[in-house]
Symmetry: C2
């Protein structure tokens, strides 16, 4: 019992530290996120942090996994009955996340797209999980004419690239597009990709 309690406590402390890490990542690129910075912010020693995270790379991976889990959680399908409203709600949550965590998000995308294979793996898995979720509503999909196949899953993943790229560019320069207009255009694309042609 004691052992379990101690282990839980260590895990829960680690989770708290990851919360801080994710907050720090929001406003700075991954390469500026150091164990020293986390130690200052959390008010504990570097030595103790190395006990939780091993080394800087492991710390980065843990923070990125947490950030990705946060994105997955906040974009979870809401309880809207209308699938379009549901999609707009998930997209809106994603856009707000990227706005609020812009620096870190951009650096994660770049690290994953660049040479870091472990980050690329986490990033690809997350994108797959996010878009595969589109096909989870087994009840409603058939009525909507959506085909669940490797082809439509491939196209849904491409849609995620459109969303990410457009949102990042829109944050840089909104180009006269309101948030709602952006969401509507992006949402309107998905059926074109995954609904079987008549």
């Amino acid at each position: 019992m004691t052992t379990t309690r101690v282990r839980m406590s260590k895990e829960s402390r680690r989770e708290q530290l990851l919360d801080i890490g994710v907050q720090l990542l929001a406003t700075r690129p991954l390469e500026e996120l150091s164990i020293e910075l986390l130690a200052d912010e959390a008010g504990i020693s570097r030595g103790l942090l190395y006990h939780y995270f091993g080394n800087k790379q492991d710390f980065h991976i843990a923070v990125v996994r947490r950030a990705v889990a946060d994105i997955y959680a906040i974009t979870a399908p809401s309880d809207h009955d209308d699938p379009v409203e549901q999609l707009l709600a998930s997209l809106g949550a994603y856009v707000d996340y990227v706005v609020d965590n812009h620096e870190g998000y951009v650096s994660l995308v770049r690290a994953a797209a660049g040479g870091n294979e472990e980050l690329r793996g986490i990033y690809e898995d997350a994108r797959r999980a996010l878009t595969d979720r589109v096909f989870d509503r087994a009840d409603g999909l058939e009525a909507l004419g959506v085909t669940d196949s490797p082809a439509t899953r491939l196209l849904a993943r491409g849609w995620a690239a459109l969303v990410e790229d457009t949102v990042l560019e829109w944050i840089r320069e909104p180009s006269g597009l309101t948030r709602d207009q952006l969401l509507e255009r992006l949402a309107a694309v998905l059926p074109v990709l995954i609904v079987a042609p008549a």
Copy 2:
């Protein structure tokens, strides 16, 4: 006259060397493209190549600029009257290029998305040029209901991200999608993004 002729000859020789560089890039990542390799392939000395290209980074930049110019040229609007046929022809040329030059293309995307600012600049400029070209057909666009605005240009650029990501993933795993089906789905998305809602 002599000076001009000699200069032209140097430029044209440089162009020939870039042709070879682009061919070498087709089947290997950018980081494996060396001046030594080009020297072997072209049958001339490394010293002479440094005379043409300065250093490895300048050589890479020159090859990438050439590859990007090739993509721009082969995807030029054909003389189809029907804008959908025209779009399918340009998209088809792009897909075939990426299939034929896969290794180099992927490495270019990664280098641009990763940390190389100069390559990122060339890549972004190329994407902008490719998608801005969508709005060049001033005659036909209005009849199609296309709005030329900063917002639709932003969305067209997002469409390019969808195209690139989907094509690269499709090459890795076609997922039961034929080339024509792929082209049709990708082409069908563009109007959703750039045609004003009724």
